[in-house]
Symmetry: D2
Subunit: 281 residues, 4 copies
Amino acid sequence: MSQPDTARLLIACDDQPGIVAAVAGVLAEHGANIISLDQHSTDVGRFFQRTVIQLAGLSAARPALEAAIGEVAERFGMEWSLHDVAKRKRVAIFVSKYDHCLMELLWRTQRGQLDIDITMVISNHPDLAESVRTFGVPFVHIPSADKAAMEQRQLELLQGNVDLVVLARYMQILTDDFIVKVGAPVINIHHSFLPAFIGANPYARAKERGVKLIGATAHYATADLDEGPIIEQDVTRASHSDSAADLQSRGADVERQVLARAVQWHAEDRVIVHGRSTVIL
Amino acid sequence: MSQPDTARLLIACDDQPGIVAAVAGVLAEHGANIISLDQHSTDVGRFFQRTVIQLAGLSAARPALEAAIGEVAERFGMEWSLHDVAKRKRVAIFVSKYDHCLMELLWRTQRGQLDIDITMVISNHPDLAESVRTFGVPFVHIPSADKAAMEQRQLELLQGNVDLVVLARYMQILTDDFIVKVGAPVINIHHSFLPAFIGANPYARAKERGVKLIGATAHYATADLDEGPIIEQDVTRASHSDSAADLQSRGADVERQVLARAVQWHAEDRVIVHGRSTVIL
Amino acid sequence: MSQPDTARLLIACDDQPGIVAAVAGVLAEHGANIISLDQHSTDVGRFFQRTVIQLAGLSAARPALEAAIGEVAERFGMEWSLHDVAKRKRVAIFVSKYDHCLMELLWRTQRGQLDIDITMVISNHPDLAESVRTFGVPFVHIPSADKAAMEQRQLELLQGNVDLVVLARYMQILTDDFIVKVGAPVINIHHSFLPAFIGANPYARAKERGVKLIGATAHYATADLDEGPIIEQDVTRASHSDSAADLQSRGADVERQVLARAVQWHAEDRVIVHGRSTVIL
Amino acid sequence: MSQPDTARLLIACDDQPGIVAAVAGVLAEHGANIISLDQHSTDVGRFFQRTVIQLAGLSAARPALEAAIGEVAERFGMEWSLHDVAKRKRVAIFVSKYDHCLMELLWRTQRGQLDIDITMVISNHPDLAESVRTFGVPFVHIPSADKAAMEQRQLELLQGNVDLVVLARYMQILTDDFIVKVGAPVINIHHSFLPAFIGANPYARAKERGVKLIGATAHYATADLDEGPIIEQDVTRASHSDSAADLQSRGADVERQVLARAVQWHAEDRVIVHGRSTVIL
């Protein structure tokens, strides 16, 4: 996965003629070769583009390139960011007692399937310490008895140290204040059904209701929304012969796949938030 | 699909030792060969069984067989019904302006893929009259201006004449009174999403929310429930590049498949209602 | 679906720096706004791009735009084509006795879900004449007794008159000579399984082999390959309780969806052939 | 998952009237309560049944029950077996260097999702020793330099000690002699595509061919067949933007799910071999 001299340029702006030409022009002038380019314009006139470029001597060339992009960005009113592919995102995973999502992320990362650095796992329970440390990843147990103190300690560990927080079946609700202060995007996974069962014992209630599909949704956690922009969703079939425990077990299989895909796409700078939705480029 | 001398026996009772043996015994005594047998016991001790039997001279033998089954049923406290496979269910389809679910049912029936008799199509709009009559099926336009009068006319057509009513994207809400009086099960199809969007313009709102899956749910309509027991559900993938119109078009494809499967299972006496859920045998 | 002043530009060339910038530049110079742009570079250094543009007064502006694109194309060694979105592709459908794929295409086209003009249906059997003519589409029966004569008559009808030929479960093998002479791409649908069953009675053999999935593949028919570039594939689950007839019926449902998607993507100029494979942009 | 006094009765015989009644009768006579019963009759007149029973004091009651079932079995010409649910199957896993299928089985077993005892892992490479021993499972490295000697050593370890052998991406071909002598069923997982790519570098060839789906098949390995009865199959979507490495990674995800399901069904005595196919009850 090592890709030196490769970067990803993300831009978002109001749709208008000449954007693609202007960006491609500035890249060509600086000798950056376009490896891939994906863009999307919404019905309401918003434009998004993800461009993967290769540029010999990227580190040295970067300041001049950024200055030139900055000029184009100003002209078109763009938000933009440039991500060095060689610099993997630093990820903290929050977990409680369920281990399936955590293990999937640790294991995929170890195998080289997921291009992130898991720098710490934080839990309100001590149970999974050994499983985590086997992977050479620090495990920090922060009890939830005093919630304000817990979040304070979490923030001390996280601020400036991570590029992404993943809630891998973390059974505590984050305060809006925490989400604002942590300074990194937060991805959450939650079980979901048709119809939706909010509250306690969702699997027992899904069983009672006889659902034929069970699913999972990975989304960004945001301060002001019950449920932030959706990154990925999937389902698996269920039937009357599945017990509530079977539903939970099958649900766990979907959760770990959906969360792994969402984290991978985020790690590859493919996800752009657009209002309450996401564009996956 | 013609299967003379074949019948389906459905039973439901509290779980207890000896049910399968007693039913199999009475069938064997009357010379009925078991073609297939599916059963299910719930966690809460309810037992369901669907048995397909073959019995030479079924019509003549039926009264004696029913009397014998009746005795066993009394002993075990069973609800039961015996369905002659050769006697296809008479189905009325309700429709408004969307034709995709209606056409799928008409077309599958014409091809022999769906073993029902569609005896009439009732609509609150005249638009689809010609499409329906092409299939040799009567189309009755009953305007919705006076709702009580509309339901009255519908009941006159339906009572005693149909074994099943299918709401194939019928955009009127049935009154509880209608559902009680119609004297036949009612199957409804509705679009469904994660999260669920209730009310107007669900596709526009699903688009705004960036869902990654769109789905459909077929369920029985019941007098006292917002949404009755679920028969079948399915989903298809969506992405940011799908417009609200695309979502509607893909949703329509899922709806017609889900509804066709639900009607087929009902027609084959595979669906047993259990509280708010179904068992599909 | 009416989109005046909209066109799709497809290009393919060896990958090299500056392509996107050069194309975007020439489009911007001529006042063409980029609606969407998708591109793909292969591992072996081939570059593909699909650009949807909007240009006021497209018809009048087209010659100048084409000349300018032609200059860029020559510089980069591009193959390219420019398709007016308002000009729907003229499609001939070949069919034998199975009607499911044919009906799906006719019906989607009638509903406006498929943006093509079905200008004729050609069959070696007379059976489906009435079904086709109901849609206002000409049906031509050309018997297969004398194969050379049959192909000769087919070519007379097709040459210059169609932009696409769809084999919707057409049970005759086209000669390489026909494929070369017809002068339009040919899309075929064929049942395919895991593992593949080539030859007679595929469903009986899939049943004998106990497959758990049945599928369908839509591909271009080519003169020199057993099976040309794959456009789309899908599967549905099967089980031991499905008879060979059930497998055939479920297979038919997959076939019509897979073929409809393949034809739609082709109609939208999304499919670019690359060696033995396709790129879907 | 502990279920004392529970057993699974599998029977197979030619279809004939009275089977279900006779079996249910003998079970009722011995006080065995039927928990679930699934049966299937094939088109060619073969009958299969899986019955889960509960019987207080199973160990003590078993000889008399077996004698009584034996009598019924003789009358109907049945093959049959009775499996104590509390006695988990002893499983040996064969592996080479790929760890994804192995880890999935170890991990599901550890979590209690898979009701087997993994008693040893045998590999022709030493690489995965530590990963396996972390789970408390013995790892035995038997090099493949001398194939006859390797199989001899494997048989010494396996004969009489295991109820199932799972080839979890084991890259050696078993001899027919080994399969006959090992005295336990062997389940294999292999990557399979649409169309199938047999031989070297399947992912590179799937990429070259532009497949839109990649899949996996779990099947029994048999002495006289290239590929034995299929237990489970599944697929995932692929596109032109997936590299050969991406296909391999996605293929690995499907393989581990398909193999886990196949092993689970086998462990639950759900799989009955019927000629070249399986019935899953």
